[in-house]
């Protein structure tokens, strides 16, 4: 069966009534969590995870992925209308998006952001479709030692590209790996750090930790803020951009697609980094850089396109290698495993309907989001009128039920609450949570492959430096260094600092 036949088969799954319904639910919920400050795609996906348990794995993953890219669309709405980023990847959009809204041009900003998101998202799905299958074929041929090298490389890169302290990020990676060792040892069946608790023998619940460290800690930090939200309300007829807006934003959309696509391979914070780089590139290439920060439409078009272009690329390491690169794809990995589907090189040959159904649904989802976001922007903005304390109450109740329903265990609620409290303290002290979660997901496989590779080589550590490992290490490292050099060249860190210093 050719790739085209597989894609057609994927569309039959995605265009079934169930595929469409759950894709729509995912996109709608994703937009809502993207709009609401304090709820990102990860928390949004975890909350609806229980909903997928009774579904076919492909349909379940279609819905969860819809939340992921839907949140990227929704995040721009609050950035433009309220100057509060709905999620981290929309921080840059606040700068010029809100300025445009203040000048009475919220409509064109929203329209360009939505169209750019659509184009970026579609381009990245094309990349996913063409890159993942050949990459998976290469990966099938490699052994556990190369997989160890790849995973170590991913964790190393996460520590390097972090916007915060590198040693703190590395500490979070080590802590995540250590927490991942809790439970039964996969090779010998020996219980580790379970303290006799049968609930811990399966390891710490990823959903409970994800909700605690990401969702709950974010809520606790936000509860300290007391400012009221005042949104600018655009009229539907004002959405149509002027010719000048289209002319200025078209190249930015093109560059944003490429930047997002390239940066999607960086593990850790690629969706955030890509937006800063895109903004810096647009400012540098603009004939009127002085307009940036005062309502330049290219400052909205580029970053919004880039953060959506990341979504498809971020799926490549997950689906082709079984290695998540950002927290949202780590949750997808966890969800696929719960459904008995193992992401990785064999996914395309063993469960092609999952891969191609997902690819097809991402095309459809981008169309749904484009048509959903613009006419309903008024309704989404109204969500911000709900007092935050009321939202928190509802979110916490749903989170607790969601966390409990994964394993039907009260221990998971304890894990969620305690990790939320710890996450709150660590966040305030400048520690990032994403590296911890990624390391937690990878830890089990890293150790398993590490020990397996040593067993296969008769205890020789030289196995990690064989020709295949060196080739993979060299090429990936070279590519990452190139991307990192580009990021530094265009002043990613400076952009972060500038943004942090803005009043």
């Amino acid at each position: 069966m050719t790739g085209f036949d597989q894609l057609v088969r994927g569309f039959t799954v995605a265009l079934s009534w169930k595929g469409l319904l759950y894709c729509f639910i995912g996109c709608l919920w994703g937009t809502i969590v993207g709009v609401l400050p304090g709820l990102g795609p990860l928390a949004g996906m975890t909350l609806l995870l229980p909903l997928t348990f009774g579904l076919d794995p492909t349909i379940g993953i279609i819905m969860l992925t819809g939340i992921f890219y839907g949140a990227m669309y929704g995040g721009s709405t609050t950035s433009i209308l309220v100057r509060i980023p709905g999620e981290a990847a929309s921080v840059v959009t606040c700068i010029d998006g809100y300025e445009m809204a203040r000048q009475g041009r919220a409509g064109p900003a929203l329209m360009i952001a939505a169209v750019g998101s659509f184009i970026g998202g579609t381009v990245s799905v094309l990349g996913l479709m063409f890159i993942a299958p050949p990459l998976a074929k290469v990966m099938i041929a490699i052994g556990p030692s190369v997989e160890v090298v790849l995973m170590l490389l991913a964790l190393f890169v996460i520590s390097i590209v972090s916007a915060g302290s590198r040693v703190k990020t590395a500490t979070m990676v080590v802590l995540g790996l250590l927490l991942g060792t809790i439970g039964l040892d996969n090779l010998t069946g020996v219980a580790r750090f379970t303290f006799g608790s049968p609930e811990l023998s399966g390891g710490l619940s990823f959903a409970a930790l994800a909700i605690g460290l990401f969702g709950l800690s974010e809520i606790l930090v936000n509860l300290e803020k007391t400012e009221t939200i005042k949104a600018i309300r655009p009229k539907l007829r004002d959405l149509i951009p002027r010719w000048n807006d289209v002319r200025d934003s078209a190249p930015a959309v093109g560059r944003g697609s490429v930047i997002g696509f390239i940066f999607g391979i960086i593990p850790g914070v690629s969706h955030v980094v890509s937006t800063f780089v895109s903004y810096a590139v647009e400012k540098r290439l603009s004939k009127h850089p002085e307009q940036f920060g005062k309502g330049a439409i290219a400052g909205v078009a580029g970053p919004e396109t880039a953060n959506n272009a990341v979504t498809g690329t971020a799926m490549i390491p997950l689906l082709a290698l079984g290695i998540p690169s950002i927290p949202a794809t780590a949750l997808l990995l966890s969800a696929l495993t719960i459904h008995g589907v193992q992401p990785g090189p064999l996914l395309l040959s063993d469960r092609p309907e999952v891969f191609w159904g997902l690819v097809a649904s991402m095309y459809i989802g981008n169309v749904i989001l484009l048509t959903l976001n613009l006419p309903l922007v008024g309704i989404f903005v109204n969500l911000l009128r709900i007092p935050y304390q009321w939202l928190v109450t509802a979110i916490l109740v749903i989170s607790i039920i969601g966390v409990y329903s994964v394993n039907s265990s009260v221990v998971d609620i304890w894990i969620m609450v305690i990790s939320g409290g710890i996450g709150y303290v660590l966040r305030k002290l400048g520690y990032e949570m994403a590296p911890l979660l990624l390391a937690l997901v990878l830890g089990d496989r890293l150790e398993g492959n590490f020990r397996l590779a040593l067993t296969m080589s008769g205890g020789s550590y030289a196995t990690f430096l064989d020709s295949a490992s060196v080739a993979v290490l060299g090429s990936v490292l070279g590519l990452l260094l190139l991307v990192q050099a580009l990021a530094w060249l265009f002043g990613y860190r400076k952009s972060v600092t500038d943004e942090a210093e803005r009043p």
């Binding site: 229980p50 909903l51 348990f53 009774g54 302290s165 040693v167 703190k168 590395a170 500490t171 080590v174 802590l175 790996l177 250590l178 060792t181 040892d185 090779l187 010998t188 020996v190 580790r192 750090f193 709950l216 809520i219 606790l220 509860l223 300290e224 007092p387 304390q389 009321w390 928190v392 109450t393 509802a394 916490l396 109740v397 749903i398 607790i400 039920i401 409990y404 329903s405 039907s408 009260v410 609620i413 304890w414 609450v417 939320g420 409290g421 709150y424 303290v425 660590l426 305030k428 002290l429 400048g430 520690y431 150790e447 590490f450 020990r451 040593l454 067993t455 008769g458 205890g459 550590y461």
Partner: protein, 172 residues
């Protein structure tokens, strides 16, 4: 004079903050040391437990090898963080911890796993909802009870009936 007014206000605000029990003001440097200490302690506990497992050999690691190596790495990194904090400039901005709304939310959440099975999920979560609405959202008790009852009815229908999630029902 005009310039002095905000300074005075600021000084008064700082003084009143210092008098309040919550939130606690902790210097970023001191907080960093405490966090590094807690992380190092975590590493030491894991290292102690891992050392009791079979470590195997360097070429054929046992179940305790990987966690032991990671624990020691955690202790090492914590030390580096503490050292970096020690060597850092004297700038020590205060950080606020334990905002009353945060403490109330955490306290209410800690009660949930205790009550979840004995009272049942819906009653435990109903109590959480009412407590948060009264103490965080500042609504009247009557309104909070009404909203929490409505919310729990919606949860029961959505999760139990529509999604088939099995929640503990407590004494009922």
């Amino acid at each position: 004079m005009a310039d002095q007014a905000p300074t005075t206000d600021h000084a008064q605000e700082s003084a009143s903050r210092e008098r309040r029990a919550f939130p606690w003001l902790i210097g970023a440097r001191r907080g960093g040391f405490i966090a590094a200490g807690a992380l190092a302690l975590t590493g030491l506990v894991f290292a102690w437990q891992a050392a009791r497992l079979d470590l195997g050999q360097l070429g054929l690691p046992g179940p305790g090898f990987f966690p032991l190596a990671l624990s020691l790495l955690l202790v090492l990194f914590s030390g580096v963080i503490a050292l970096a904090g020690w060597l850092a400039a004297a700038k020590d901005e205060p950080l606020e911890f334990g905002h009353p709304q945060v403490l109330i939310t955490l306290a209410a959440l800690l009660a949930v796993p205790i009550l979840f099975e004995p009272l049942g999920a819906l009653i435990a979560l109903g109590l959480l909802t009412a407590a948060l609405l009264v103490f965080i959202a500042r609504v009247s008790l009557l309104l909070a009870i009404m909203w929490s009852a409505l919310g729990m009815a919606a949860c029961w229908y959505l999760f139990q009936e529509l999604l088939g999630v099995r929640l503990p029902m407590g004494p009922f």
